[in-house]
Amino acid sequence: MSVSGLEGRKVLIVEDESLVAMLLETMLEDMGCTVFGTAGRVQEALEMLGGDTLPDVALLDVNVAGQTVYPVAEELDRRGVPAVFSTGYGQGGLAEGWVGRPTVQKPYTEAMIRDALMRVLGVRNA
């Protein structure tokens, strides 16, 4: 079921668990979004952001293969791309300086991902 306002939006996924990444891809495709890329490592995500084309929004797992995702979040901030953090701990899982940023807690439903994306993209619920 395509969601108006999210259709065609390019989403960057940073998630090290294959199955969880696949779940997100499936959910996003169902909403009508395009997967900009799926990175399982911080370095991989930074490389994806190195080009001219940028995603419209990003979904960031806080703990990626033993590293924190904040370098990616900083780069997104610098380039004006909004991001939603995903973590096992909710708001409490964010480091100092990032507390209060939009967050979804694992495991998440399609509705939770949709609402979070619409909020950071400034899309009104129909």
């Binding site: 199955l19 499936t26 399982g40 096992g88």
Partner: protein, 493 residues
């Protein structure tokens, strides 16, 4: 026993004599004989006051004699020791040429009662010290003020005060020793710093232990413990000195060298900097007191880390299960087949978890992962061939899922459908890279080939994403051939 005591008494460098109740010499030691310049035979049995009359027939001599006798009588009457901090008592001495003369002497004496078997005071043990040097001091000083001080010091008035002070001092001394003992053996660390440079006056064993047994006493903090200054603790000490207010630190991290100039180690300390005031109420020093709480803090941190890690894993596992459920549902419209496929995938994950738990999550061997994931299909039908390959936990989980999808597919659509089909699994380890082939033989030709289903997507994703490797699927006349290459050590780019 008695003879040993007598020998010890005689050998003591301190002069001792032991008059009877009527002040006759019952015993003397060599040190006493030396100090009065007499022989044992001249003294034993004779009355002390007959031999030493206080310096002749003058009023002063009679007063000297009276004071010494009064001290003896106090011991006899009270049964308590008595102290003569200072007494002027000239004695008759014999010069080397045989002539006798009266020599001015000053003494300090302690008189201790010695009781007989009935508990009555039978003897007085006199421990006396010749302190005539004080008199020499009086002769040497020339200024009126100093002269007056020394005269005052030697006068009976001050003597009484000195006596009083002496007994107080003795009491304080024993109290102080007792406190010092407690201080030195206290389990917490203690140090006393004085002056504007915070010079170590004393510190206990626990403090020495904490600071790596470096020399401290007499040295300023900045010199003895330079690492503290760099961490702002010198400023804290100055603040306590300036404001006169104590500073209390709770679980404060402190980098301390193990000995002078030794490598730094983080300690967590609960401590107090307490101002020490002098008689005028000015802050003269700082009393440092506290204890190490490093173990408690580190245990707390470890526990938090473990809870965070547990939470992370549980939530990730739930998300993984959610993903398996959602994606399995897409390819299995029938609830019955959904449940079967979903459970099989959960069991596959669980098998690898079991393997990893056995090794305390240090890793698993590739052959073992293969055996676990395919045992349902019979050990004779899936034939492994390759060297030992130690997989990390993440690699083991990925490979486990890949084997599960391949085996499930072979059972459903491939060579494991019929009784004759077999799978040859061959792998090599070369230059840190694993090359593996899953080759299905002797079976019926593959009817719909494995592609674009959840299984193939999962395999593809696991290989690229989790293993940083490459794979391809081919179909020969016999059946499916799956080739996989991945690095064993994943290097961070």
């Amino acid at each position: 026993m008695a003879r040993d005591l007598a020998r010890a008494f005689d050998a003591s460098p301190n002069p001792y004599t032991m008059p009877t109740r009527d002040f006759c010499y019952a015993g003397v030691n060599q040190a006493y004989l030396d100090v009065v310049g007499r022989t044992r035979e001249e003294l034993i049995g004779r009355n002390l006051f007959e031999l030493f009359d206080g310096g002749g027939q003058s009023a002063q001599a009679r007063e000297n004699e009276r004071r010494l006798k009064a001290s003896f009588e106090r011991v006899l009457n009270t049964g308590e020791p008595d102290h003569l901090a200072l007494i002027h008592y000239p004695i008759e001495v014999t010069d080397p040429d045989g002539r006798t003369r009266i020599e001015d002497r000053y003494w300090s004496a302690t008189h201790t009662p010695i009781r007989d078997v009935d508990g009555e005071v039978a003897y007085i043990l006199q421990h006396t010290t010749d302190i005539t040097e004080l008199q020499n001091l009086r002769q040497r000083v020339s200024g009126d003020r100093d002269q007056a001080t020394v005269t005052d010091l030697l006068s009976s008035n001050v003597l009484a005060r000195a006596e009083h002070l002496q007994s107080d001092n003795l009491r304080l001394q024993s109290e102080r020793n007792r406190l010092l003992d407690i201080f030195m053996q206290a389990p917490g660390f203690i140090a006393v710093l004085t002056g504007p440079d915070f010079v170590f006056q004393m510190h206990n064993e626990a403090y020495a232990e904490l600071t790596g047994h470096r020399p401290l006493n007499g040295r300023p903090v900045a010199e003895a413990m330079p690492e503290l200054a760099a961490q702002g603790f010198l400023d804290l000490l100055k603040q306590v000195r300036e404001t006169g207010e104590a500073f209390e630190g709770r679980a404060m991290p402190v980098e301390l060298g193990s000995g002078e100039g030794g490598p730094l180690r983080t300690h967590y300390l609960d401590f107090v900097y307490q101002p020490l005031r002098d008689g005028e109420g000015q802050v003269a020093g700082v009393f440092v007191q506290g204890h190490e709480v490093t173990d408690v803090v580190e245990a707390g941190n470890r526990q938090k880390l473990m809870i965070d890690e547990l939470n992370h894993r549980v939530k990730n596992t739930l998300a993984t299960v959610q993903s398996i459920a959602m994606q399995t549902a897409r390819t299995h419209a029938e609830p019955a087949t959904f449940a079967q496929a979903f459970q099989a995938r959960l069991m596959s994950l669980s098998h690898t978890h079991n393997l990893l738990t056995r090794s305390h999550w240090e890793g698993a061997d590739l052959a073992e992962v293969l055996a676990h994931e395919t045992e349902a299909h019979g050990s004779t039908r899936i034939l492994p061939n390759g060297p030992v390959v130690s997989l990390s936990p993440a690699q083991a989980l990925s490979i486990g899922m890949i084997f599960h999808e391949l085996a499930t597919n072979a059972a459903k659509h491939g060579v494991l459908r019929s009784g004759d089909g077999r799978v040859l699994v061959d792998w090599t380890l070369l230059d840190g890279a694993v090359s593996l082939t899953w080759r299905e033989i002797d079976g019926p030709a593959m009817v719909p080939p494995l592609h674009r289903g959840f299984g193939s997507r999962l395999i593809d994703r696991n290989v690229r994403h989790d293993l940083a490797g490459e794979c391809r699927l081919d179909y020969s006349g016999d059946g499916l051939i799956f080739s996989l290459t991945f690095p064993l050590e994943r290097t961070e780019s």
